[in-house]
Amino acid sequence: MSKSHFVEVKLGINYSENNMMNLLKKAENAGVIFYDHILGVRYEDSPTLNVDHALQKLIKNMQDCDADHSLFLEIPQKSYTHLWFYNNEGLLEFHLGSFVYLKEKHFEDSITQIDFEFYIDFALKIARDFGIQKLVADSID
């Protein structure tokens, strides 16, 4: 059974559209491409979005209970992730997960595993100006 990996980061800034936009702009500056995924189309083949449209899509999906609340992103070095925003006690929290083209690496004891350092580095890069209150990286079966 394949594992699902995730990185969760709670920031020291309020949960607001303005701060979601600030974070998406940091992601854009870090080289992220936002996709407008459409059912039946491969994620990578979906149209790309600018940062304003990416936020609009997220907000719209968050208001629609049946929709997936995530945004699909390409992060540098050809890896893909979903991004979710949450309200954690009034503060903005984001999750990265459901990675596509998972970055793996060969480690000590001859094991090949997810390269969490790669995903944590990316999370730190977009979060660094906002203050980190919580960071968890883990895998579930």
Binding site: I13, E108, D109, I114, E117, I120, G131, I132, L135, V136
Partner: protein, 141 residues
């Protein structure tokens, strides 16, 4: 009451002397100093010990089954001190850095001054480089 923080990494590596020593040696290479603290002495005035001596100290401490696990006092450059602990987490090696003094703080967006967790996460990633990460978490106590 002062706040205490920790960064805890569980590695996909066996809790054994070889792996602990490897981490301690990496620590030495990236500028860590290990101290052989003695009761009634200030930590900083305690004798400096090598990674091998530190491992021996940790193994001796393990015999007492301290709640915080075998711990060693360290300096990680620029007068930054703290404690490094090694636990057996279901046979996996868990490495924790805690009790940082002084706490490195940074001014974030909205002029909030908080602990610079990014500094400590990057430090721990460097310390455990080469090992696969199973779980990383920040703590406050």
């Amino acid at each position: 009451m002062s706040r205490n923080f920790s960064v805890d990494l569980t590695l996909i590596a066996t809790h054994n002397n070889k792996n602990i020593l490897k981490i301690l040696e990496t620590g030495r290479k990236i500028g860590f100093t290990y101290y052989d603290h003695e009761i009634a002495k200030t930590y900083e005035d305690s004798p400096i010990i090598t990674p091998s001596q530190t491992l021996k100290k940790i193994l001796n401490a393990a015999e007492f089954e301290l709640e915080d696990g075998p711990t060693v006092f360290i300096n990680c450059g620029d007068s930054n001190f703290g404690f490094l602990s090694f636990h057996d987490d279901n046979h996996l090696l868990k490495c924790s850095f805690w009790g940082m003094r002084p706490i490195i703080r940074k001014t974030f967006e909205e002029n909030i001054v908080e602990i610079d967790f990014e500094f400590y996460i990057q430090l721990m990633l460097k310390l455990c480089h080469g090992f696969a990460i199973k779980h990383i978490e920040l703590g406050e106590f």
